[in-house]
């Protein structure tokens, strides 16, 4: 197989999936089994709301227009991929150009909207996608004349050694991943134990796997273990208090001693 064929195929596959899944994300609006996606309707409603256009019809129409353009993009990439599979070079290039051009149009519209709605981060994101699209086009188009070389790795001795080394490292890493998973999976529902860091203040260092259920179990467990204490206040440590990346969430529970007589009566 020629090197340029591999590179062109990679570019087509990436963008076909990119737009295909973007369309699918609009077809499946909410969170479902096997699909989370992003709630673009909520995003659009908020954007238009910030402009003073509270009627959802504006967001709905804008989202429908964007989806229509995304469908067009997807179809163009798909047609390019189909022609590529058939070996029709000229048609592949034509459809790919149409696809890239319509994608560029869409990202330009997104960028205009980002400026209108004042979302600078999304402007950067869409600007980068726009740049990558143009670069993809240049690579796709101009890699053709000079890279007719065929890709030939063969199954020589050194390739065999590489494959054996790859399999060995994969096996060792897989064992390590399984071990780590077995060791830490219990964090999904194990209550976290607190440490008294200041008189009456307990610190809970939540692991990465913990979620709201762990929080509930942790508080209930703490109350069970410390019937003599009354929780006054729970403080979630902001990210600035975390050791960079090492801690998922810090929780501080502020307590005070219950009235001893009242506690004994209970």
């Amino acid at each position: 197989m020629k090197e340029k064929t591999i590179i062109r195929f990679s570019i087509l596959i990436f963008w076909t999936f990119f737009w295909g899944l973007s369309v699918l994300d609009k077809i499946i609006p909410d969170v479902h089994n096997l699909w989370v996606g992003k709630d673009f309707f909520a995003l659009f409603v908020k954007f238009f709301g910030s402009l003073g256009l509270k009627n959802p019809i504006f967001a709905t129409m804008a989202l429908a227009s964007v989806s229509a353009l995304e469908v067009v993009n997807f179809v163009f990439y798909l047609l390019s991929l189909v022609n590529f599979a058939k070996g029709n070079k000229s048609l592949t290039e034509k459809w790919f150009f149409r696809a890239v051009f319509s994608s560029l149009t869409l990202f330009s519209l997104f960028s205009i909207a980002d400026q209108v709605f004042g979302d600078r981060f999304q402007l950067l994101e869409h600007g980068l996608f726009w740049l990558i699209l143009i670069a993809s086009w240049i690579l796709f188009k101009y890699i053709s004349d000079s890279d007719e070389k065929s890709f030939s790795l063969g199954f020589s001795k050194d390739v065999k050694i590489a494959v054996i080394i790859g399999i060995c490292i994969t096996a060792i890493t897989s064992i390590s991943i399984m071990n780590f998973s077995n060791k830490t999976f219990s964090n999904v529902d194990t209550p976290v134990s607190g440490k008294e860091v200041v008189d009456g203040v307990y610190k809970f260092d939540f692991p990465f796997l913990a979620d709201k259920l762990v929080w509930e179990k942790t508080i209930n467990n703490f109350k069970k273990d410390h019937p003599e204490l009354r929780i006054n206040y729970i403080y979630t440590g902001p990210s600035e208090l975390n050791s960079k990346k090492k801690t998922h969430m810090l929780l501080y529970v502020f307590t005070e001693k219950r009235d001893i007589i009242q506690f004994k009566e209970k």
Partner: protein, 264 residues
């Protein structure tokens, strides 16, 4: 007499091969090590994958394990082929290096394409941008690598003696000044990493605490301890963390208010 120097093109090609080999090597080490340890923080990929799949309704850890093993396998083969390309290149077997490099590029493109599909499914737009950028960097690396092969540029890294001495003296001077400044800051201000902060009364039963940038959980705990000792008659009702929107851009670190009431 011809000097024994490496052309700049060749150095850039070495740099590309070394970058991708190290990139995947450390990704593999990260997966192998798992969680946070002494001298290695990394990223808990199992937790990340598990949370992604759980958000899509798949709670079983086996699915996260399987996905992680597949990702690790692709990364390992990318690493093996990039390293092989580097070895071939080092031994001046340029054709073999090119083929091995392309194999590494293919594994890398497959990996980032799969990751991008995952980002769509799990709705993580930031990671989608990140993986698309890496996907593009991979393609770009390949094009640069093969373009430099054909380029006839014969620039050599030869610097005149006078310029070399001037650059060295200037660099050494700047390194000394910068190092003195850094060590000086360390000597005078590292205590901010652990010292308790004085709470400033800003209203009736409201106290403000402005954190230094070095402050972490230890400073927070010591500050609360100090506050409680200095104000034994007060009970902490609430701690309000000033959101980013109310802080001066970059100039303010963490600020929080302690809201109290008098103990009965």
């Amino acid at each position: 007499m011809k000097k024994n120097t490496i052309p700049t093109n060749q150095l850039i090609r070495y740099a590309i091969l070394v970058y991708w080999s190290i990139f995947w090597l450390f990704n593999i080490v990260d997966k192998f090590i798992g969680g946070s340890h002494f001298l290695w923080v990394g990223r808990d990929r199992f937790a990340q994958f598990q949370r992604f799949f759980a958000s899509a309704g798949i709670d079983s850890p086996f699915i996260a394990d399987f996905a992680l093993v597949v990702a690790a396998g692709l990364e390992i083969f990318a690493f093996v082929f990039f390293t092989g390309a580097l070895i071939h290149y080092f031994k001046n077997r340029f054709d073999a290096a090119r083929s091995w490099f392309l194999a590494g590029i293919c594994f890398t493109l497959i990996t980032f394409t799969i990751f991008s599909i995952g980002d769509h499914v799990f709705g993580d737009r930031f990671e989608l941008l990140e993986h698309t950028l890496f996907w593009f960097l991979t393609l770009f690396s390949w094009v640069v690598f093969i373009r430099l092969e054909r380029s006839t540029s014969s620039d050599e890294l030869v610097i005149k003696k006078k310029q070399l001495i001037t650059a060295s003296v200037l660099s050494v001077m700047l390194v000394v000044v910068t190092s003195i400044s850094i060590f000086n800051y360390n000597t005078n201000f590292f205590s901010r990493r652990t010292d308790a902060i004085e709470a400033q009364k800003v209203g009736d039963n409201i106290y403000k605490v402005s954190f230094p940038f070095l402050g972490g959980s230890t400073v927070f705990e010591k500050t609360i301890d100090k506050f409680k000792k200095e104000n034994p008659s007060k009970k902490i009702n609430h701690i309000y963390t000033v959101p980013n929107e109310l802080r001066l851009k970059k100039a303010d670190a963490l600020i929080f208010y302690i809201v109290t009431e008098d103990k009965e």
